[in-house]
């Protein structure tokens, strides 16, 4: 419940992101692709596990997080190309993949390395993007 509250608070935040230097941009692009790979694997695991467990709620929850991650990461990717703000879209993508991992763990499904790797760079991503999340926006 606390995790859900934290996610809601983070999503309800406003943010700003200065344009990154080209070198930073290349790193951020690589991060976004790593996150996307993690989302793909987490989705596949959710799909398989929900069928095995006959858990439609799990499948719908994962799909909800997947759509959130997809929307955010596509917006981030476009922002990188356009040289516009993308930091908070990346952070929202991280939050979504964290939620997918939590859903998997809550059903006793081990989270694989590619998802763990995507999660492990979350802290670094936050510092790179300088996205400041505030309540109420």
């Amino acid at each position: 419940m606390r995790g859900v509250l934290a996610i809601v608070m983070l999503l309800a935040a406003s943010c700003r992101m200065p344009a990154a230097a080209p070198n930073g941009r290349a790193h951020v692009r690589a991060y976004v692709m790593a996150l996307s790979a993690g989302v793909v694997v987490a989705d596949e695991l959710c799909a398989t596990a929900s069928l095995r467990l006959r858990d439609r709620t799990m499948a719908l929850t994962c799909d909800n997080h997947y759509q959130s991650a997809r929307k955010s990461l596509i917006a981030a990717d476009e922002g990188i190309d356009a040289g516009s703000d993308y930091g908070c879209n990346i952070v929202r993508g991280v939050i979504a993949i964290q939620a997918m991992a939590s859903t998997l763990r809550s059903r006793g499904v081990a989270v694989p390395g590619v998802v763990e790797d995507a999660l492990s760079i979350a802290d670094e991503l936050t510092s790179v993007t300088k996205c400041e999340l505030r309540d109420g926006a």
Binding site: A59, D63, Y66
Partner: protein, 60 residues
Amino acid sequence: MTLATVLEILVQWALGSPVVRDALTKIATGHEDARKVLDVLPLRSKSAISARELSDADER
């Protein structure tokens, strides 16, 4: 110096340019299009497909 020689020098110069090399590499590998998030994450998730399958199974 013949026209062919001049053209050859110009082509060699262009191929030696990092900008031209980079552009040619991107064209050859399809790099610009190959690594888009849009291509990696399809609109319909596999979780959504599973949810639909479970729903259909319940109806049967």
